[in-house]
């Protein structure tokens, strides 16, 4: 009895030890050893193009893997555990978050990215490079801004309505506000601006400096932030904003805003190109009535993403060939037509396929507007704290707009919170 028990125990212990040992050794560094795993979020890359890439590079064994939910959380977890990592991963416009861990990614320049640099927008290419000169990200898409407006309603009200005329009439934010006042007098009950948040966001997007410099030091001159803030408050004081800021759900959609699009309550708005899909979906009845033109204040960009190769990838050169092909100028038009991901390669902007007149925009070719804007976007450093800082300012703007907070107090509160945040992060002493 004791003997059998002892042998049983010995066997159990041996099994346990083996399991432990095996477990410790076989937890693979990359998600599919021997294959090339590519993580992308839904609608982050064209599945058709990815499918072709799999067939085109059979020797690379590409495995595109669509990450449901937050790709970033999964990537952070995999990086922390150094296990089940992708070989290639998508990274959002907060790419600077990864700059502190640049050693965990492949410097794309070491696999020949310099030769391909010229085919992409310089400011976008720079955004994927660390202050130390490591090329971490390869551009996927960008988000050039434009002014979307209701051409039909502008014309009925006797306002300038052709893109060139409108662009000339709203070339600065002040002009835009004056134009808005006139438009709202003629079309009462309608709004020219979504909310103070969009004014702040797109005004700051036009500046060549934001909050921090490339060494992550807080800029002593924050006048660009104050400028964006003042413009937002001015738009609110002039009664131009509809105030849909506070009620955007986590998905960014707002029922009120969607309804305002289809009823014509929202006469115009400034947004990046990626809104077109939502607009078409939310307000199909307004098809043909929209036009767009160069945004007030100048060109700006909002959003966009990159592909990066992790250093755990055993064959960075091969991975780079795949990335280069997927995001090459020959595939970007297809991705744009399929998903609305705006090309980061300017060569594509002259593609006749993309310059077609669009029915939804009353026969206008939107590419000609966006393309011109995209080429002029100022290069700017987007620090790891930018999203949180911007959220702090826009939260306070929402308080002004919908909770009746005094703008001066809101400005002081926002600055106090930003200062606290930066002190906690060790940016400010």
């Amino acid at each position: 009895m004791t003997l059998t028990r002892r042998s049983f125990l010995a066997v159990t212990a041996a099994l346990g030890a083996t399991a432990l040992g095996v477990g410790a050794c076989t937890s693979p560094t990359t998600a599919n050893p021997g294959k090339l795993t590519l993580w992308y979020s839904s609608n982050g890359l064209s599945e058709k193009v990815l499918g072709e890439a799999v067939a085109r590079f059979p020797e690379r064994h590409l495995v595109p893997s669509k990450v449901s939910g937050e790709l970033k959380q999964r990537l952070l977890a995999a990086l922390s555990g150094e296990a089940y990592l992708p070989d290639i991963t998508m990274i959002g416009d907060d790419i600077s978050t990864y700059f502190a861990a640049a050693d965990r990614f492949v410097d794309l320049n070491s696999v020949g990215a310099q030769q391909d640099q010229d085919r992409y927008l310089d400011w976008k290419w720079q955004a994927g490079r660390t202050p130390g000169g490591v090329q971490l990200g390869f551009p996927i898409d960008i988000g050039p801004a434009a002014l979307y407006y209701r051409h039909d309603l502008f014309r009925e009200a006797g306002l300038p309505s052709e893109p060139d005329e409108v662009a000339a009439a709203v070339s600065t934010w002040d002009d835009y506000f004056e134009f808005g006042k006139r438009a709202q007098e003629k079309l009462p009950g309608r709004y020219m601006i979504t909310d103070t948040k969009t004014v702040f966001t797109y005004s700051l997007a036009q500046e060549s400096k934001k909050y921090l410099d490339k060494q992550n030091r807080y800029l002593s001159d924050q006048s660009q932030v104050r400028r964006a803030w003042d413009r937002a408050v001015q738009a609110f004081r002039m009664g131009l904003t509809a105030g849909y800021a506070g009620n955007a759900s986590s998905s960014g959609d707002s029922i009120d805003r969607n309804a305002a699009w289809s009823t014509g309550k929202e006469l115009s708005f400034v947004s990046a190109s990626w809104i077109t899909g939502s607009l078409k979906q939310a307000a199909p009845n307004t098809s043909g009535n929209w036009h767009l033109c160069r945004p007030p204040g100048g060109p700006g960009n909002q959003g966009g993403s990159f592909l990066a190769i992790t250093r755990y990838c055993p064959d960075p050169q091969g991975a780079y060939e795949v990335v280069k092909w997927i995001l090459g100028p020959e595939n970007q038009p297809r991705t744009y037509l399929e998903l609305g991901l705006f090309p980061s390669s300017p060569a594509v902007y002259d593609d006749p396929q993309l310059l077609q007149p669009e029915e939804f925009f009353g026969g206008q070719s939107t590419m000609s507007v966006f393309g011109a804007v995209a080429k002029e976007v100022p290069a700017v450093y987007f620090s790891p704290y930018d999203i949180t800082i911007s959220d702090t300012y826009t939260d306070e703007l929402t308080n002004v707009e919908s909770a009746g907070k005094d703008p001066d107090r809101a400005w002081d509160d926002a600055n106090r919170l930003v200062e606290r945040l930066l002190r906690r992060q060790g940016v400010l002493a």
Binding site: L76, L79, A100, N247, S249, D256, G426
Partner: protein, 322 residues
Amino acid sequence: MTATIPTTSREAPAPQRRVNAGSRKRWRYLPQYLAIAPFFVLFAVFGLYPVLYSLFLSLQRWDGVGPMKFVGLENFAFLLSDSVFWDSIGNTLLIWVMSTIPMLVLAMLVALGLNSSVRHKGVLRVAYFLPNVTSIVAMSLVFGSFFSNEFGVLNWFLGLVGVDPVQWLNDPWAIRSALSIMIIWRWTGYNAIIFLAGLQALPQEVFEAAKLDGAGPVQTFFRVTLPLMRPMVLFSVVMSAIGGLQIFTESQVLLGNRGGADGGGLTMVLYFYNTAFADNDFGYGAAIAWGIFVVVVVFSVLNWRLVQRPERGAPDTKGAGR
């Protein structure tokens, strides 16, 4: 079990034999230990380790990618002076009070209704319980269009009766009301079922006696039913406190990570989530989590005292019951 091992080993004189006997004894109980192991292993991996690690994290500054930096108690010092954190505690408690009191009253009314002789009791019970098993995310999306400022169903109804539309999602108090309404909708049925079970278990003699003594329905309810239902009500209060301190999904889906206008819907857990997983400030996020832990401990003590009280005040309740 642990006591037996030292005792036997003390009896054994030779050191070599002691080891053998000791280890043999220890091995003997291995199957029993193995049998209870799954819980402890799972708890250690998914419970204990994360708890300890979050304590470690709360002393670091870490963005989730780069190297960690030890900052001592700095995160906690920030937390104590963080007005947003204190506001989030206030919001959580306000939403809890604003939802729990009406919910308990409603649940009691529903339970009384179901307990009296209505038809289709079973169907009604299921119907009242349905909101509780509905996905919170789906529910929040529906409520999003319900509360929408200009095109919402609720404002349309208010317009029908001549009330000005309420900016449900643009005003901190309206936001808290909206969240409370969602919680009430979700939990009233659940509590009603518990109350109903309690009502059905009450002794009928007491009610007959009350009737004989000439008590009306209102008197009977306040003097007889409610005192007897005290344990059920306390259970519901405790359960709703547990749920109420964790309010998160409703806020997050309805208002986004930042908690809406003036942070009106920013609950403790939402603030924690936003800091850790949206702003990637894991060290401070962990510190917030421990702040929440302290709040929960305080509440648990309060709850415990609340539950303990009936024993001390037992003669009183009995007197009222009779």
